[in-house]
């Protein structure tokens, strides 16, 4: 929506998650809670009331024992580019510009102090990536002490979601400025908390448009696909799996259709 300031190099941050590698251990979720001051309650078993910026889903191929297969799918905010790089489903619906598409990074922001909790974005997001603060967050005992000053705790009545740890980008940019080379934000300088935390190395993060970055290579992998890609949301999060049933489970196909990675094979 906004013009890219001419002095800033445009980046397009994205993620590639190898589903064949992911073990479903949920370390990414916990690292994210810790990094982003995500609140918690005593009963978190109702997942539709539970705030998670990244959530690991369990997929099964539905086949009976012993041909059963399980695949875990960590799902952060997809940071959709939407139609023509800048119109994710959620951004254009927000009545108060509390969420915006940041063209210099391709990250969808969320200003929680601006949000007044109409939840239209939640209805617009097909991924359920947006979470509402139904309750006031409470940190029991002395737990307020572990809150990070980099990310403001949210208040009741607003939407929050994954920001690709945007504060880490800001820190990297600040560092780059301080070092006198504002353009030079390397792959290692800016990584999200979940990427770093993944003990299996299933998550890769970087500039999708920069051929020097690992994600550039990975997103062009034959087995790369995106979640509900056919809706036209244009997500910045890619998934890898060599298993066809996983591809089928991640997007809607008519009976006679095949996922792209497998349709080409026959042709």
């Amino acid at each position: 929506m906004q013009k890219i300031p001419s002095h800033t190099k445009a980046r397009h941050y994205g993620m590639v998650i190898d589903l064949d590698k992911c073990t479903g251990c949920a370390t990414c979720m916990v690292a994210c809670y810790s990094e982003n001051n995500v609140s918690f309650r005593d009963d978190e078993s109702v997942k539709l009331l539970s705030i998670n910026w990244i959530q690991v889903y369990k997929l099964t191929n539905g086949k009976p024992f012993p041909d059963t297969e399980v695949c875990y799918l960590p799902q952060p905010c997809m940071q959709c580019d939407g139609k023509d790089f800048g119109h994710p489903p959620c951004v254009s619906v927000c009545p108060a510009v509390a969420t915006d598409f940041d063209s210099p990074t391709g990250i969808v922001s969320q200003i929680t102090t601006r949000c007044f909790g109409c939840r239209y974005c939640m209805a617009a997001c097909p991924y359920h990536s947006r979470k509402f603060n139904w309750w006031d967050p409470v940190w029991p005992a002395d737990m307020q002490n572990y809150l990070s000053p980099d990310v403001s705790p949210r208040m009741r009545g607003v939407i929050e979601k994954c920001t690709f740890c945007y504060h880490r980008f800001q820190q990297a940019r600040q560092k780059a400025y301080a070092e006198g080379n504002p353009e030079d934000i390397g792959e290692d300088d800016y990584q999200t908390a979940c990427t770093q935390a993944c003990p299996s190395g299933a998550i890769t993060f970087g500039d999708l448009d920069d051929p020097a970055h690992e994600v550039y290579k990975l997103k062009n992998n034959r087995y790369a696909f995106r979640l509900l890609e056919r809706l036209g949301t244009n997500p910045s999060v890619y998934y890898l799996s060599t298993r066809k049933w996983v591809h089928r489970a991640c997007d809607n196909y008519l009976e006679n259709e095949e996922p792209a990675a497998f349709a080409n094979k026959q042709a």
């Binding site: 109702v46 619906v93 009545p95 510009v97 139904w134 008519l254």
Partner: protein, 412 residues
Amino acid sequence: MTTPAFPEGVKRCGNGQFILWLLPAFLVLLIAVYAMFRVWFYGLNQTNMNDAYGFAIWIWADLAVIALGGGAFFSGFLAYIIGVKNVKNIINFAVVLGVVCYTSALLILGLDVGQPLRGWFIFWHANIHSMLTEVAFCLTIYLGVLIVEFIPVILENPKIQKNRFFHHMAHNMHEIMAVFAATGVFLSFFHQGSLGGVPGVLYGRPFAFREGLFIWPWTFFLFTWSAAAVGPLFTATMCRLAEFITGKRLVKDDVYRLLAKISGWMLLTYIIAKSIDTIYWATVTAPARGFTLMDFYSNNPAYYGIWILIAEILICGFLPALILITQKGRENKKLLFGAAILAIIGLCINRWVMVLQVLAAPLKPFQEEWFVYSPAWTEVITTILPVAYGIILISLAYRFLPLFPQERELNP
């Protein structure tokens, strides 16, 4: 009973009876207000909404109530702009109904947002791309227009009429009512439409998403059209209900028949357009995203499956439309109001589907289950609130204001 406070030449019931009649409504209102304050004080955790159902029964009620309140704008359009004289006999009532519907709608919106104290950000920090912004602007301004339309009716109370300024005010406002009505129609067109746009633009939700014209999805036009078609039928039905309750005839039958005829043709054209839209969506829009029609109507935990679509289009769409466009159908009061009630139900189903089923339908194939939700008592009671509040306001208006110009003549 007659007093100088009542409109000239009409009879009203005694004060005791009147208060007794309002009592249940007041009780409901009281509980609803309590629920409202709970929601405001403790937050939306007092409801049963969740992250899948960000919109729930309130938003459905909101959309339905606004659509039904559309009777005010469309009868205003007919009366003041097209100049259909006979509609003027029911226009005051339509305006009161409109005021009830729209104030309720705004109240519900104020209740539904997580941070009501920041609600004004929608105006101040308006994102003009959002259908909701369009709704908020048009709705608020239109409510202003409705109140402006309502003022002269209030001023016509005999006691108030004694004040010369108010007397002139009422007169002057009547004089230029067409200007207000025109503005109202303009605003209504947009907000009814943008309410349709609310689900229609959700391209992440293939159940709701529609292609369209410029920035407006087809639902934009369908919503306006359906509100214009069914709104007057709602006005007529409510008027008939008032006749039933008061035991008096309030408008002449030809007024009903006229509204029914206009609405009938509107409804028919609407339902044809809606059918075309549905077919296009089912055969082109949805399959392009990997969905078949039945994906949206199978395994629904509420069991209604495809029947909800059949009910909306055939039973509550074509059937009432066909009844209303035939003279015989209109002549028979039972058929006429039966058809009107069907049409109203059809409209409510449409809004229900476009709000709740949109959110309930699973999108990710690995999450096959539909999302289920049942409203909390706080939601139910505040959804009933407009009814109680409507009963009170309409009763008061009927008692003290000359809503029905034909009443004197019909009840000598």
